[in-house]
């Protein structure tokens, strides 16, 4: 049904992108707002040069509610891709498919294909637990464990057996905090509870906690929505640094944030992936009426 599913084996190629979307966009400009008509067609380019996670034809149902329809998207190595869209558009749902957090919701059902490094993450032998160690997640509200700062960061390495001894664990905790830009603020109080930190610090602690497990992909679900602008800026800087090592998928409500941190942007609308493209392109020249409406503020 989607354009990507038909030519999946083919390597990501540019020509298509130039030919088709323009036509699509033109048609759509004539019938603005008729969302149902674009079922399953994503304009722009869902592919990328160096795909690491590939979602194909993903559908998610919560009971009878069809939350996500036929979404296909590639996520490249070491890139930041932002998922934007109005509330309830399914971007968070899609994000949670990528590390199978939806498994914890009983009524949720996922169909389609999602691969990580070429392997289907929904295959039977895949342990979702092992998957989540490779695809880490940072949540909307900072949620440190009610334990010490040290234990917050050390928890992941401990359950995955990443450190052979205490010194190594200390080292992991230290570097993780350092990479999360938190070390200077907390190095003297690692024993204090993580909940004693400010909101922005807590969120950086959560990032440190996530990178301590040494994941390959980091999913961020509106990581700054509960933070003030200064804390937000720090986290955005941090993402810039982190994308040198990790693929980052960020869900955000803020187009400015998407524009600042991401290389590519995917626009979701009512469970559909409407448009995917390079950030500059999507903000300067959106090819879909809905995308344009959204980034110009006509859709809240």
């Amino acid at each position: 049904m989607t354009e990507t599913s038909t030519d999946k084996p083919a390597p990501p190629a540019a020509p298509e992108r130039q030919a088709e979307p323009v036509v699509e966009a033109a048609v759509l400009h004539e019938v603005p707002g008729r969302v149902t008509e674009l079922g399953g067609v994503t304009v722009g380019n869902t592919k990328c040069e160096n795909p690491f996670m590939v979602a194909e034809d993903v559908n998610v149902y919560y009971g009878d509610n069809h939350a996500i329809q036929n979404v296909s998207l590639e996520i490249g190595k070491k890139e930041v891709i932002a998922l934007i869209g109005p509330s309830g558009c399914g971007k968070s749902t899609f994000l949670r498919c990528l590390n199978r957090m939806n498994d914890t919701i009983e009524t949720a059902r996922v169909t389609g294909n999602i691969t990580l490094d070429g392997k289907d993450i929904y295959r039977k032998e895949q342990d979702p637990v092992a998957l989540r160690a490779r695809v880490g997640m940072v949540f909307q509200k900072p949620n440190p464990f009610p334990k010490s700062i040290y234990d917050n960061v050390a928890y992941g390495p401990r359950i995955h057996g990443l450190a052979a001894d205490r010194a190594e664990l200390d080292n992991i905790v230290h570097t993780s905090l350092e990479r999360a830009g938190l070390i200077n603020e907390v190095k003297d109080r690692l024993d204090e509870p993580g909940t004693s930190l400010s909101g922005g610090q807590q969120q950086r602690l959560c990032i440190a906690r996530t990178i301590a497990v040494n994941p390959e992909v980091i999913l961020m679900d509106e990581p700054c929505s509960a933070l003030d602008p200064i804390a937000t800026a720090r986290i955005e800087d941090l993402m810039d640094e982190l994308c040198e090592d990790y693929a980052i998928v960020i869900v955000t409500h803020s187009m400015q944030q998407a524009a600042r941190v991401s290389r590519r942007v995917a626009y979701f609308h009512l469970g559909l992936l409407v448009e995917v493209d390079e950030t500059d392109r999507i903000f300067t020249n959106p090819q879909h009426k809905l995308t344009e409406d959204y980034i110009t503020g006509r859709i809240g």
Binding site: N99, M101, T104, E106, V129, A130, L131, R132, A133, R134, G136, M137, V138, F139, K141, N143, P144, F145, P146, Y155, G156, I159, H160, T195, C206, R209, T210, V213
Partner: protein, 411 residues
């Protein structure tokens, strides 16, 4: 309008009266309990100069504690105090002033200190319960002689001894160190308390882990389907099933079918486990529900398994709430008596139980038994036992309240 206002006033007054009824009853109840029960913590003792004569105790030169005539020594000493009691009937009446416990006291003394043999000791021995009641003013000396348990002569002797300073009210240690007895002055609650302690140990050891495990399963693992609905409804109903029905279950299953010993704290503990399980499960589920889901998500997102999430994060945070529930369940178990009657724990048991399978009784059952006894002295002890029971319950509930306060501070 005045009529409406009057109605309003009457309504409010009715509410106040209703609220007051419960509280007044509570006050009345505690007042009568304290008035009745505190005197039982004191017991009248009689000072006797007893010659621990070797001739009496070891007539063959060999002291046999089981057969030695300690009673005789007590009687001799008593006769020495009240020489005017001379006839056989008088003497028999005289002997009733002192408790049969006096002889046991002598025996224990000699057993510990064989050197005392042959010496004369001035000892405080327990007076009989009737004398005790007289001293405490519970027997009216002015009513007709036939209607009271002490004769005029006995009362005279008691007054005489009192004037000589040979009677003294002392702390009633027997109440806490003895098992049950037919003699009120020797009856104690230690057997019952130990029985309750053993039972609660069994109950705690079983119902806390099982209850917590069940709560964890229902909250964190169980799929929402008919089966878990059934378990849920079932648990809520079990919490409201009359306790005596659990006793019937215990009798039919544990005693008749599994052939466990009757009256054993083990069986009592098992029955109370089933009885408290719903309480603990319901409280534990509430405690688990109170753990914010964001913490579960955080751990899951780091690649913790469901089981690790539960045991590393949810359980430690829910534990105070679970413990509170467990303590409340335990306090309910401690006050429970009806099911214990079913499994034979109402027997008259003198020995303090030493193991889980010894026949035993429980504190509330002891209260039930004593409340049934006609002697005036037992009524007093019943109240005292109730005070002790309520004391235990108070301590447990205070602990629960403190734990709950602690938990609230957590996040």
């Amino acid at each position: 309008m005045p009529r409406r206002r009057r109605k309003e006033f009457t309504f409010k007054l009715l509410g106040m009266v209703a609220t007051a009824i419960g509280i007044v009853f509570l006050g009345l109840f505690f007042a009568s309990l304290i008035a009745e029960g505190t005197s039982a913590f004191k017991q009248t003792f009689l000072k006797l100069d007893i010659e621990l004569s070797e001739d009496v105790l070891a007539p063959d030169g060999e002291l046999d504690l089981a057969y030695a005539d300690f009673d005789g020594l007590v009687r001799t000493a008593l006769r020495a105090e009240i020489p005017e009691a001379s006839g056989r009937r008088d003497r028999r009446e005289l002997y009733r002033i002192v408790s049969v416990g006096a002889a046991y006291q002598l025996r224990d003394l000699i057993a510990q200190n064989p050197d005392l043999l042959g010496t004369t000791q001035s000892l405080w021995v327990p007076a009989s319960s009737n004398v005790d009641m007289l001293i405490k003013g519970n027997i009216d000396a002015n009513i007709e002689e036939a209607l009271r348990p002490l004769s005029d002569k006995q009362i005279g002797w008691v007054r005489q001894l009192q004037d000589q300073g040979r009677l003294e009210s002392r702390f009633n240690r027997a109440l806490f160190t003895n098992g049950d007895s037919r003699e009120p002055e020797l009856a104690g609650i230690k057997g019952a308390v130990m029985g309750s302690v053993y039972m609660l140990l069994v109950t705690m050891a079983l119902s806390f882990p099982i209850g917590v495990a069940a709560a964890i399963y229902l909250e964190e693992f169980a799929p929402r389907n008919r089966w878990s609905d059934l378990i849920e409804v079932n648990i809520n109903n079990l919490a409201a099933v009359p306790s005596i029905v659990f006793g019937l279950l215990g009798l039919a299953v544990f005693i008749n079918w599994a052939a466990l010993p009757r009256a054993a704290p083990l069986v009592g503990g098992l029955v109370l486990t089933l009885l408290t399980l719903p309480v603990i499960i319901i409280a534990s589920r509430a405690a688990i529900k109170a753990v914010p889901p964001s913490i579960r998500e955080a751990a899951l997102g780091l690649g913790a398994s469901q089981t690790q999430v539960v045991f590393h994060h949810v359980l430690p945070l829910a534990l105070p709430g679970m413990l509170t529930g467990a303590i409340i369940g335990m306090s309910r178990a401690l006050g429970e008596s009806a099911p214990l009657l079913m499994i034979g724990m109402v027997a008259f048991i003198v020995d303090v139980p030493g193991s889980l399978t010894d026949p035993a009784t429980a504190l509330p059952v002891q209260i039930f038994l004593w409340a049934d006894s006609p002697e005036r002295a037992f009524a007093e002890r019943t109240s005292a036992a109730i005070i002790v029971l309520l004391g235990f319950l108070l301590v447990m509930n205070l602990t629960a309240v403190i734990l709950r306060k602690r938990m609230e501070r957590k996040w």
